[in-house]
Point group: none
Chain length 435, copies 2
């Protein structure tokens, strides 16, 4: 069982957008044992798209196309497919009705140009699109002597992925396949790629199966484990044992797997511990609160946060004394400790995280260069009452640290928020932070 992946778009062949859809689809197919013969990218030109479809449809069991089914004049994939099939495009009334009600909900009339998104080649079927207006297109193999079974999806990654997982992949998986490749990704934060690799040692040997490779994205060092074996059971078994070995080597540095993120893991911990958190941010300007509220149901553990960007705001909102601000400066441990203490008291939450730093590019000084960031965590007092003010408010316990990050403004803000999450994570684990 094999497939060819075809991406359509001028922006792709002009190198203005990097095609990430193909690599993602490649991974999904590998996981179900469908071999990818080739990934191809062509421009928004009907004759070129036709040639690519004709060629691929003669060679592969599956042809998976993304892009070129938008509503505009440069969206020509459906026309090319119909031409290769030697059939006309026909209006799918059911889809047209969906489109019209979609625009009704938006309180707008449907632009006439959108009608084309309900047109599919005669003999083809529509594929559900839960995230957009374009109907996916499914052509069974054998139609007009095409070897390939063909799926056409939108080029917008989000729409494509939902459609692929929902209606394309199950179909391909059902056809069964050859050698299975199962993958799992483990995520770490805090150490660099080489330090992680050192701890993994022989697990990263090139010829190992399952193989273990590392990738880095936004400070998260991820381990990609690939088990390539004849049977699904074997692959699963091997994948699990290598996963255990990686966990043994890295311990709590691993915060999650696959779709987990630092915020999603923290959300789960806070929810299960029935604890609440609030935030007081300066240089991250709301990013930390945004991360906490990225997670559905965040109201269970997050009620409020402050963005106190100026000194005046730190004083007016959180009562940070002008004296502390003047003596120690806005980027100092005394200031973030005062911010966290006040935030926790005002929000009546179990925990409070505060951040103040110099994200740059300007604002650095010799003693506090760009990348200097102070972070504090306020937690309940030891005494009974949990800081909930039985017999008067009991002051928080607060710990703070100063970090020095490299990189640009975006990196410094991102790392600052993630380290803050890590501080809370290790507190909830009741373990010292190993970095």
């Amino acid at each position: 069982m094999n497939a060819i992946i075809l991406s359509v778009g001028d922006e792709l062949v002009l190198g203005q957008t990097i095609d990430t859809n193909s690599a993602w689809i490649d991974q999904q197919l590998a996981a179900v044992g469908c071999e990818v013969i080739a990934d191809a990218i062509v421009a928004d030109r009907q004759e070129t798209i036709e040639a690519a479809i004709r060629l691929a449809a003669a060679h592969a069991d599956f042809l998976i196309i993304s892009g070129g089914i938008g509503p505009t004049a440069d969206d020509l994939t459906r026309h090319a497919l119909a031409a290769v099939m030697g059939v006309p495009l026909e209006l799918n009334e059911a889809w047209l009705a969906r489109l019209e009600s979609f625009f009704q909900k938006l309180g707008r009339a449907m632009p006439q140009t959108n009608r084309i998104q309900a047109m599919i080649p005669r003999g083809a079927e529509t594929i559900e699109n839960t995230a957009g207006t374009a109907a996916g297109i499914h052509v069974k193999s054998g139609i007009s002597n095409l070897k390939s079974e063909i799926f056409v999806m939108p080029g917008v990654p989000k729409e494509m992925k939902i459609m692929f997982e929902r209606d394309v992949l199950p179909h391909i998986r059902a056809k069964g396949g050859g050698a299975v490749i199962l993958s799992r990704t483990l995520h770490t934060f805090g150490l660099g790629e080489s330090s992680v690799a050192e701890k993994l040692g022989d697990l990263m040997k090139r010829d190992r199966n399952p193989s273990v490779g590392t990738t880095v994205a936004n400070g998260i060092v991820s381990l990609r484990i690939n088990a390539r074996l004849p049977s699904r059971d074997e692959a699963q078994q091997q994948l699990d044992s290598t996963t255990d070995a990686c966990r043994a080597a890295l311990g709590d540095l691993i915060f999650g797997a696959d779709a987990d993120t630092l915020p999603s893991v923290l959300a789960a911990s806070l929810a299960s511990a029935r604890k609440t958190i609030c935030t007081a941010e300066s240089c991250t300007g709301g990013l930390l609160a945004k991360m906490f509220t990225d997670i559905p149901g965040s109201s269970d553990y997050f009620a409020q946060g402050w963005v106190t960007y100026s000194n005046e705001a730190k004083h007016d909102r959180l009562g940070v004394s002008e004296n502390i601000l003047n003596v120690h400066g806005a980027v100092s441990e005394p200031v973030v400790e005062a911010m966290a203490r006040a935030a926790r008291r005002l929000a009546k939450s179990d925990f409070a995280l505060s951040i103040s730093g110099i994200a740059g590019p300007s604002g650095g000084t010799p003693s506090k260069p760009v990348g200097t960031v102070c972070i504090a965590l306020a937690i309940p007092p030891v005494a009974p009452g949990g800081g909930r003010g039985k017999g008067g408010y009991q002051e928080s316990r607060v710990s703070s640290r100063t970090f020095h990050f490299t990189g640009d403004r975006e990196m410094i803000r991102d790392r600052s928020a993630k380290i803050a999450l890590a501080m809370l994570r290790f507190h909830l684990l009741d373990k010292p932070m190993p970095f």
Copy 2:
């Protein structure tokens, strides 16, 4: 003059490495007016590589291959090329000598496996590799009836880029004939892709030059203008005139060009108007403040923001009365208006933006489904004093609107923050928001 780009590597068709070489080469070729017909990726399989070379060599003036010329058993590009040419691989003595001296300098004997890197198809020439051990391979067009002139380069991006710029690109540029392609991107927000296309009309005609295409990313509909003309001056002139035509068709819907973002454009407007903004957010949970503070120097216009996620926070921090909250609900225009009014007063800023909505996936009701978002903008009073409390604080003027967004939590939060930015943008333009 046109080309096909071929990348070779198992890691690419397994989706474990994203092919960035092709996009980079695409850009280099576009800049010298060489049209890329297609980018293709194939696995490390000789028969597949052969098929790809045969196909491409029959269609394009240039075939540019990267990958598969390393020293290991899975490097098969040179074998495939020789097979397509119908000639044997021959040892290039000069390159072998280089390899041996290279390893001598390292104080090592050359591994026998490296000999293969000095082998090229009979009739081909080596291409200098200043950054690695593999000889690049150059095959003139016409050899064994290949239409394409073929260049084979290493897959390692660093080696490939040096080799391409040094010995491949000059060669292609010298062939001339082609046009220069200059590009510009204009960004719009607020209308869907199809509505933007309708306003552009004939500007998006397929055969037009400069061409105008649309792409969508995170709600931003961007126009990609590509001018393909013989001379750089002509291309620049045509690019500018088509840009003017797009601006005439879309007016203020266009908020920026190329690297501009909504926050960067707002930052510039606020700075030049010497105005300040604060934020009060519920469902966006800090995202709006984060967007304002993404921009270096944001302290000039942004001093503070509130994340009032719970009703209690809206009441305790911003004084939103329990009565309003109970009667209208947290997601209502009266509530966001109260939030904006209080935020502007407390922060002593010129403007305040507030957002309250249902980002989902849960929390929707029949009357207020997921995606319902209320946004308010508070601005200075008409009376002199600009709301800065000369003779007592003068109440803000506040306008609010209710929106209905589709998509998942992330999309709803993103669109909410962007619409809020748009409301402020059109207020600063002193124009009604056209959506």
